[in-house]
Every structure is written in C-alpha cells, then in structure tokens.
C-alpha cells in the first residue's frame, strides 16, 4: 500500500507550501559560513608580467603587508614559476594565500616558448587535484587546493596596444584560468590616453577571441556594481608601499616632483576597484569558477584522453562506475592474455632447453663410451707389454740362476787348478 502512495506522490509536481511559523532553517547559510570559517579559506593568485613591472609591489599593496621577495634579474634563461604560500588572518577569517610569480617572463630574445612553463604549472595543479579526486581513499576536505583561482596579467603601459607576447600568452591561458588583465604602472598614462588604451586593449582581446573573466551579474546583490566594473576593465593600477603625508593624512602614494599619486584615490588609478572586485566581492566566485568551469574542462579532456566516455554507442548514459568496470574488465582480460602468452613462451623455452640438454647428454655419453673403449685398448696393450716384460724377466732370472750355479762350480775348479 505504501509503495503505491509513494508512486502517486512522486508523479505530481513539486508544491510550495507556506510556513505557519518560524522553523529556523534560515540559519543554514550561517551554519555553512561558520563551518567554512573554521575550515579556513585558500586562494591562489598567479601574477604574469615582465620583470620589474610591479607584480610584487602590487601584491604588497593589495594585501597591505610585505611578502618577502628578491628583485629578479633580466638575464634568466627561461621562464620559471615561483610559488609562495602565506597564512593571513583578518578578524577571525584565516586565508591561506599562495602567490605564484613568473620569473624571467618577457626577458628572453626569443619568447616563443615563454607561455609553456605557465600552462604546465596550471595543468599540474589540476592534475594533482584530479588524482586526489580519483583516489579510493581520499580526503578532499583536508586537501590543500593549489589550483590557480585567478591570473593577474600585467600589461605594460605603452599607451598603444597589447604586445604580441601578451596576446599569445593570454590566448593560451584563457581556457585554463580566470584572467583579469591590469595595466601596470598606470601613473605614466594621462587620462585621455588611458581611455583610448583601454578601448584598444579590450577590442584586441575581443577580436582575437580571448575570454577574460567577467564579474558575475546574476546575483542581484552585486550585479550592479559588477556590471559597472566590467566596463572599467582592464584596471589601471599603481602600487606603492611607501607612505606620504597628504594634507593631514598619511596615505600610500608615490611622490613625484610634480605631484603625489595616491594609490587609494579613485581619480588617480583603479586600485580600489581592483581590490573591491578581487577580494571583497568576487573572491568566492573566482574559486567557484575555477572549480566548476576550468577544472571540469580539464578533467573532461583528461578523462576523454584516457578513453572514458559519457555515452556508449547506443547513446544511453553511462555512469563512470560502469565505464570504470568495463575498463577494468578489459584490463584484466588483457592481463590474462598476456599471462597466457608468457606462459606459452615459457613452456616453449623449457622444451627447447630440455631437448638441447638431451642432445648434450647424448653427446657426452658417446664421448664417454669412446673414451672407455680407448682406455680398454690401452689397458690391453699395457697388459700385453707387461706379460712380455714378465716373460723376459723370468727368462733372465733363469739364465741368471743358471749362470750363478755355473759360476759357483767354476771357482772351485779354478782353485783346484791354482793348487795344482
């Protein structure tokens, strides 16, 4: 009876009911929040840009602290990535921040291979996560997620357009990571030039099909601010850790003979916008996008390479388990076949060696027989000789005895002769 009731209910549409009083499941988001706060957050930033363009200074300015770093030289042989992890805390929120720096980017004379180390690094982080996910005994909640959540691409403020290296690198990265392009050292571009420069950059990115990160506009709480910020991309930023007294306040700024560029002044540069967007509003969305879009794309490509498919030839949905089982069976049968082959080979080899050994045995036997025969021959000959020798000896002895007896009787005769 109960079974049919259940059937009836499940075939109806879902109904929305109104509550008679306060139940209390509106605290669910809070529970989620407190759980994630106790867990701690982690965020990974990749900074791509030429040597000396201000990556480290901007990181210091963004997080209002000094991350230790040495100045890189221009004479590196190639590009290599330098990840550094820091633990930050603000009120009661822990952040495990990893900053990955590209050392030597843009310095070589031949920059055709410059993008490769970066792409390899991003793929390696995805691969590590995938391995962890596919493990039988896995601990995802404990896993230190090193996947890059955001790539800040630093554009040199030439005032004309993107450099060729920028275009090539961004095209290779746009399907793997969220890219936010920023114009570095923006205090060298005047306002009118900046406007033209931004338009030129965005049009070049669009015409070349480069997908940069768009701030999400589906959540009403932040859609307005996000859509207005989308229009300000790429952000023109100035970084500074030095403080200058302006009026009666001390602010972070750069002091020039002709004026003071204040980092947090919205009319001077877009630093505040970048901080808002990157940290205060969209950090969680960036993590989500990395996991839901870029990581899933990587995973799909990787698994397809390995031969997994979502649908079998009849277009029935496969589950991963079934595919996995099928693969396993295949693999095992392969294994068995190989075992059989090896065993056959082994048996054949054994037979061969056996026959060889038999051959050799026979040969040895023949030789033995031959030797024996020879030996016997020799023996016989030797026996004959011995007998001959014995006969001779006997004959000699007899003659000797005969001679002796003769000589015994002889001296008597001689003596007699002498006496006479």
């Amino acid at each position: 009876m109960a079974a049919t009731d259940v059937d009836v209910f499940s075939s109806e549409e879902k109904r929305s009911l109104s509550l008679g009083g306060h139940v209390g499941f509106d605290s669910l988001p809070d529970q989620l929040v407190s759980k994630s706060v106790t867990q701690g957050f982690c965020f990974n930033i990749l900074c791509v840009g030429e040597t000396g363009i201000g990556k480290s200074t901007l990181m210091n300015t963004l997080f209002n602290t000094t991350f230790e770093n040495e100045e890189a030289s221009h004479y590196q042989n190639g590009v290599y990535l330098r990840p550094r992890t820091y633990d930050l805390q603000e009120s009661n929120v822990h952040l495990k921040l990893t900053i990955v720096d590209t050392v030597g980017f843009g310095d070589q004379i031949n920059k055709e291979e410059s993008y490769k180390p970066i792409v390899d690094y991003i793929d390696t982080q995805f691969e590590n996560y995938l391995q962890e996910e596919l493990k039988i005994k896995r601990s995802l909640f404990n896993y230190h997620d090193t996947r890059i959540h955001i790539c800040l691409y630093f554009i040199a403020p030439t005032g004309h357009s993107l450099k060729s290296l920028d275009l090539v690198t961004m095209k290779k990265l746009d399907s793997k990571v969220n890219i936010i392009p920023i114009i570095a050292k923006a205090d060298t571009i005047s306002k009118s030039e900046l406007h033209k420069f931004k338009i030129k950059i965005m049009s070049e990115l669009v015409s070349n099909g480069v997908q940069i990160y768009q701030f999400p506009t589906d959540d009403e709480a932040v859609s307005e601010i996000n859509s207005s910020m989308n229009a300000h991309l790429p952000f023109a930023v100035v970084g500074s850790v030095e403080e200058v007294k302006v009026g009666n306040k001390t602010v972070r700024a750069r002091q020039y003979p002709w004026g003071v560029v204040q980092v947090e002044n919205e009319s001077h540069c877009d630093f505040v916008k970048l901080r808002e967007m990157l940290i205060r509003v969209n950090m969680e969305d960036l993590r989500e996008q990395t996991h839901a879009r870029h990581y899933e794309l990587y995973r799909r490509c990787k698994l397809e390479e390995m031969g997994f498919k979502d649908t079998d030839p009849d277009s029935q949905p496969f589950s991963l388990q079934e595919t996995y089982e099928a693969k396993r069976k295949e693999f095992l049968s392969d294994l068995q076949r190989k075992e059989e082959e090896m065993r056959q080979m082994f048996v054949n080899k054994v037979k061969e060696t056996e026959s060889e050994l038999k051959e050799k045995e026979r040969e040895l036997h023949d030789k033995f027989e031959q030797l024996k025969r020879m030996h016997q021959e020799e023996k016989r000959k030797v026996e004959e000789k011995r007998r001959d020798l014995e006969e001779e000896m006997n004959a000699f002895n007899r003659r000797k005895m005969a001679a002796e007896t003769l000589s015994l009787s002889q001296p008597l005769k001689k003596d007699k002769d002498k006496k006479n």
Partner: protein
C-alpha cells in the same frame, strides 16, 4: 646660465670683430681673426644636415620625443599595428626628412625610425636590418667619395642613434644589450630612459646607476662627450661634468601644450599634477636637447666621420685588397693605391725566410715539449 647663452655671446663677439677691423685698418692688424666669422657665414649659406636614428620597442615614446625635440609634428598619419599583426613582425627602416630653419640657419634633418624592433615574439637578430642599413649608408658614401665627380655628395650616414630603454624593468634587458653591442662600433649610441614620468627621483637615480654599471660590465661603447678644453671657464666645466653624470638621460616627451603656473608649456596633464617637459627638475629633456642640438651636434657628426666611417672604410679596403691579391684582378670599383708589389727575387727570399722561420718555430716547440715532459717526469 647655460650653453645657449655662452654660444650667443661668442657669435656676438665674432660679429663685432668685423666692425672693428674696418675701423682700425691702419693699425698693425693682419685680420685672420675674422676666419671664424667667415666659416660661420659660409656654413650658414651651405646649410647643415643631420641624420638621427631612434630605436627601441614600440610604445616608449620615440615619436613623441622627436616631435618635442624639434618642435614639429613629423608623425602625422602613422598607422600603428595591432598586437596580432606584431607577432611575426619584421623590422623596417623608415626615413622622414624635413627642412627646418632658424635664424637663417638651415638644417636638413633626417629621422630614421625602426618600427617593429623588439615587438615580435621571436626577436632573434632583430637588429640586423638596422646594422645593414647603417652599413649601406657607409658603403654608399664610400663609393661617392671615391668617385670621379664629388661635387654633390649626399651624406646619409647616421650621425646619432637614440636608444630608448624601458623604465619598467630593473635595468638593461638582453635585447638592449645585444642591440647596443651590435651597433656601438658603427654609430654613436646615446641611451635614454624613456617615459621617465613613471619613476620617482630615487628610482631614476637607481636605474641610471644600474644602467651605467651594466653598460660598463658588458663593454658597450656609448657616445662619450668630449673633454672640455682647459681654457674653458669654470661654469662650462661644471655644466659638462653634470652632463656626464646624468647619463643616461631620463626623458619625457609631449605632443600637447598645457597651462602650468600661468604659462603655456609642453607637458602632460595628470590628475595629480602637471609634468613639464622643459622643467629640469622633472626630467632631463632640456639636457638632452642642449647636448644633442645646441652643443654637440657637430661633434656627433665629426665622430661619425672620423671614427665610425674611417673604421668602416679601413675594414672595407682591407677586405678588398686581400680579395684582389687572391683573385689577381687589376681592376677594382674604387681607386685604391696599390700595395708595393715586391719583385720575384725578393719574393723568393721572403718565402725561404718564412719557411726557415716556420721550421725553427717547430723545433722550438718540440724542445719546449720535451723539457716539459722532463719536468713532469
């Protein structure tokens, strides 16, 4: 007080000297003190020419600086390439020639631009078109100079090359070093730090020291200002010293005129202030302009003619004579004094002596080896 005013004083003195001679004709006065004056007159009549090359990555403000230097708009309808087009761009050489005149002095100015330098993804040997161009100009002058009709020789040799170093890095980059090393023996290189309005005074000083160190370390021979004569006055010497310590010049250029401190000046307008191009405390533009145009222009030409061109010429002639001796051809495109050819007898003697020398050298080596072996034994 600067070089401009000193030079103006000198000119005045010369012009006045003329008046004096006519009045004091009866005095014991030969009058060749007017020679400088005559030179001045003739040169004004003949006019001057100057070829300037600008090199550096695109977007460093080369065109803007040239416009600011010569107060004209040379690059009116320029077409800038997109990033996509620049991926495989090759370096081109473009020339703009203008005739400008100031106080009766005519200057034929040629600006040689190098669009595409350092812009491609693979910049191997991107300086080759530039060195080829410079060599071509030398070769052409060499031919003209050795020709029969030398009345109207066009001097297209590059007198000076302004190399723009980006201020965004920590010093010279490999492409900068390679470029300067390829060109330092062909042309006068003056390195500049471009777009200096992105560096605070401390940073400028650090970068200049860095660049000077690296130039020395890599053995790059940039253009050196000539030493002052000992009879120049102290002010001039002091100025010269300051000039030398200021290299490489940190420059800013501007195409626009802004209003600052009640005056209309060339500058860049920012929300936080106005950068004046001709303000000495803002950048070294004035120093560069004075050095390049007002005091050292002729010296740059002289160094090009006397040093770089002569090097090229000697090198060329040596190659040609060695080739001629090998090929045994008598005719050559350029009249060269034939080397004194020794007659057969002396040649034979020379050959014999050479062989003897070689033999003795070999023996010496063998003995040395033996001694060495004995020592090691």
């Amino acid at each position: 007080m600067d070089a401009i005013m000193l030079q103006e004083k000198l000119v005045e003195r010369l012009l006045c000297a003329r008046g004096r001679t006519t009045r004091q004709k009866d005095k014991q006065y030969v009058g060749f003190a007017t020679l400088p004056n005559q030179v001045h007159r003739k040169s004004v009549k003949k006019g001057f020419d100057f070829t300037l090359m600008v090199a550096g990555e695109s977007g460093l403000g080369k065109s803007t600086l040239v416009n600011s230097l010569f107060l004209t708009d040379l690059y009116k309808d320029r077409k800038l390439l997109n990033a996509e087009e620049r991926i495989n761009q090759t370096v081109e050489i473009t020339k703009h020639t203008v005739d400008i005149e100031e106080k009766g002095v005519k200057l034929k100015l040629t600006i040689v631009d190098t669009p595409g330098f350092g812009d491609a993804v693979n910049n191997n040997e991107c300086w080759k078109p530039i060195t080829d161009y410079i060599d071509q100009q030398f070769e052409q002058y060499f031919r003209d100079e050795s020709g029969l009709n030398r009345k109207n020789i066009l001097d297209n040799r590059v007198h000076c090359c302004l190399y723009f170093i980006p201020p965004f890095g920590h010093g010279l980059r490999p492409v900068d070093v390679e470029f300067m090393k390829a060109l330092h023996e062909k042309v006068n290189i003056i390195p500049l730090v471009a777009k200096a309005d992105c560096l605070t005074p401390n940073e400028i000083k650090k970068l200049k020291d860095r660049v000077r160190d690296e130039i020395e370390r890599f053995g790059i021979k940039v253009y050196q200002f000539p030493e002052c004569d000992s009879d120049e006055d102290e002010e001039f010497k002091q100025m010269d010293k300051e000039l030398k310590e200021c290299t490489p010049f940190a420059v800013i250029g501007s195409n626009t005129v802004v209003e600052a401190r009640g005056q209309r000046v060339r500058g860049r307008l920012y929300p936080w202030g106005i950068v004046e191009v001709e303000n000495q405390s803002h950048c070294d533009f004035v120093k560069l302009r004075n050095m390049l145009i007002r005091s050292h222009m002729h010296d740059l030409k002289d160094v090009t003619c006397d040093v770089h061109y002569e090097n090229y010429r000697a090198h060329c002639i040596q190659e040609m004579t060695s080739k001629l001796a090998q090929d045994n051809r008598i005719d050559s495109p350029i009249p060269i004094l034939p080397l004194p050819t020794p007659d057969a007898e002396t040649e034979r003697l020379i050959k014999m002596k050479d062989e003897e020398l070689k033999r003795m050298q070999e023996m010496l080596e063998k003995m040395q080896q033996q001694m060495h072996e004995k020592d090691t034994c």
